[in-house]
């Protein structure tokens, strides 16, 4: 794993079109985070499955991925060997950071994995069901404090959507943003807040050991192996998925785009990738082509609406 960004671009530009393309994947986050892990898993699987002989990962951290996105859009134009990992968090970050570069400036290829939001309360909480929580929220929105990730992120958006669906003014929610999942989880476990919201994986161990009570998950259907209703079942039409995707550079020809899409499809269908998903506990939510484009457009517009409702975007 030699991280030679410029080297590989140069090599890529000079090399004759070969059967197996070399790729450089930008992980728009620090090493260790979700996007970085996704990028590095793609790297490993692509090389092991022979989809590409040489894959580099470069970290360009910052501002919810928008810095990496901006750099990628401007420096990789027309380069079919450049890829970037991204996700739903980017959609919100682009809006709250007023980023001049958006997902329209790159070529989204496919959604690869995703995670659903889970709503939990401490085991000692008097709230037993999602219904109880919504009741409390309706009675006094300020008295229900929600612990979750950064302001304007997936967790915050989900709470805004829940409030809206329950007929509560989304600007009145008492959302307490914590940095990183760990701190929020500590606040929930320590009974500092009413409820917690985050990706299910953050809470899984605590839910299984009984220290947290899982009230609902944000998927459309009940999830396999998770004993909890969906938010939808409680009568609130809220489905939130924190997905991760891979995108290619802007300005690609149709053939180039098709070649990248084919490689990514090969990746997503490979045994190595399925194995990786299992060990990392990621859901397989592969979605490509027009279906993904449509989903993406829907997510962007609904996110913009809810961020305006919460008051984070003017």
């Amino acid at each position: 794993m030699k991280q030679f960004f410029l080297a590989s671009i140069l090599a890529g530009a000079l090399a004759l079109p070969a059967v197996a393309a070399d790729y450089t994947i930008i992980a728009p986050a620090n090493p260790g985070g979700g996007w970085d892990q996704t990028a590095r898993s793609i790297q490993t699987v692509m090389q092991e499955e022979g989809i590409s002989s040489n894959v580099q990962v470069q970290n360009v951290p910052g501002a919810g991925g928008t810095i990496g996105l901006a750099q990628f859009a401007s420096q990789s134009k027309g380069n079919a060997n450049a890829l970037i990992v991204g996700g739903y968090v980017m959609v919100g970050a682009i809006l709250t950071n007023k980023s001049p570069v958006t997902l329209k400036d790159v070529t989204p290829i496919a959604r690869l994995t995703g995670e659903y939001e889970a709503i939990v309360v401490p085991a000692a909480s008097p709230l037993k069901t999602m219904g109880d929580l919504v009741e409390a929220l309706k009675k006094d929105p300020g008295a229900v404090s929600w612990a979750g990730g950064s302001a304007g992120g997936t967790d915050h958006i989900a709470v805004g959507l829940i409030a809206k669906a329950a007929g509560v003014d989304p600007t009145k929610i008492n959302y307490i943003a914590f940095s990183g999942g760990g701190e929020a989880l500590a606040a929930i476990l320590g009974n500092q807040v009413t409820a917690g919201i985050s990706g299910y994986g953050e809470f899984e161990a605590q839910v299984k050991s009984g220290t947290l009570r899982l009230l609902a998950v944000s998927s459309a259907e009940r999830l396999e192996g998770i004993d909890a209703p969906t938010i939808k079942e409680g009568g609130l039409d809220v489905v939130v998925e924190n997905w991760r995707m891979i995108a290619a550079a802007p300005g690609l020809s149709d053939e180039q785009k098709a070649a990248v899409s084919a490689d990514i499809e090969k990746l997503a269908k490979s045994a190595g990738w399925q194995e990786t998903l299992k060990t990392k506990g990621w859901q397989d939510t592969y979605l490509a082509g027009d279906a993904f484009a449509e989903q993406l457009a829907k997510d962007i517009s609904s996110t913009e609406t809810v961020l305006k409702d919460i008051g984070l975007v003017q």
Partner: protein
């Protein structure tokens, strides 16, 4: 650094540099006031919005600026040692050169220039020797850290000879 702050009996004239520091602090406070005035008023149950703490900090800076003026007029600031400008210019120039050369010329050349400029700042001005030496040293470091230890350091024409 000099051990300052011993109350001096003779009255010195107002310390201009210290007054400049006061102006800087007040300017910083003004910048914060201006910036936080543009922030959206976000309803929060804490009663403390995103602009509250910056406002408090800016007020603190204003107080410190006033205090600095007071000490400057009393001549309470410590004596300063004479500063030579040339070495400082060499080093700052070296850092700036590295910054500008890094992307296009790669790590070794950019850092080699910095190395030579820093050495020049400390009196070794034989650039015909220090620049190549710096580039060679940087290349060795690049090979060690980027090649062996997988740190991502920008590569340029020189690095491509090896990879």
């Amino acid at each position: 650094m000099t051990k300052g702050n011993t109350p001096s009996n003779e009255r010195r004239r107002p310390d201009r540099a210290a007054l400049a520091i006061a102006v800087f602090l007040a300017g910083l406070a003004g910048l914060i006031f201006w910036d936080s005035s543009r922030l959206a008023r976000i309803n929060s149950y804490s009663g403390i919005g995103p602009s509250t703490i910056p406002f408090v900090i800016a007020c603190g800076l204003l107080l410190l600026a006033a205090w600095t003026v007071f000490e400057a007029l009393r001549g309470d600031f410590p004596e300063r040692e004479r500063q030579e400008i040339a070495p400082v210019v060499w080093i700052i120039g070296g850092l700036a050169a590295q910054m500008l050369l890094l992307k296009s010329f790669g790590f070794s050349i950019a850092t080699g220039v910095l190395f030579a400029a820093a050495a020049a700042g400390f009196g070794r001005r034989k650039l015909w020797f220090t620049i190549p030496a710096g580039i060679l040293l940087s290349l060795g470091i690049w090979l060690l850290f980027a090649g062996l230890l997988q740190l991502s350091l920008p590569a340029g024409p020189l690095e491509h000879l090896f990879w």
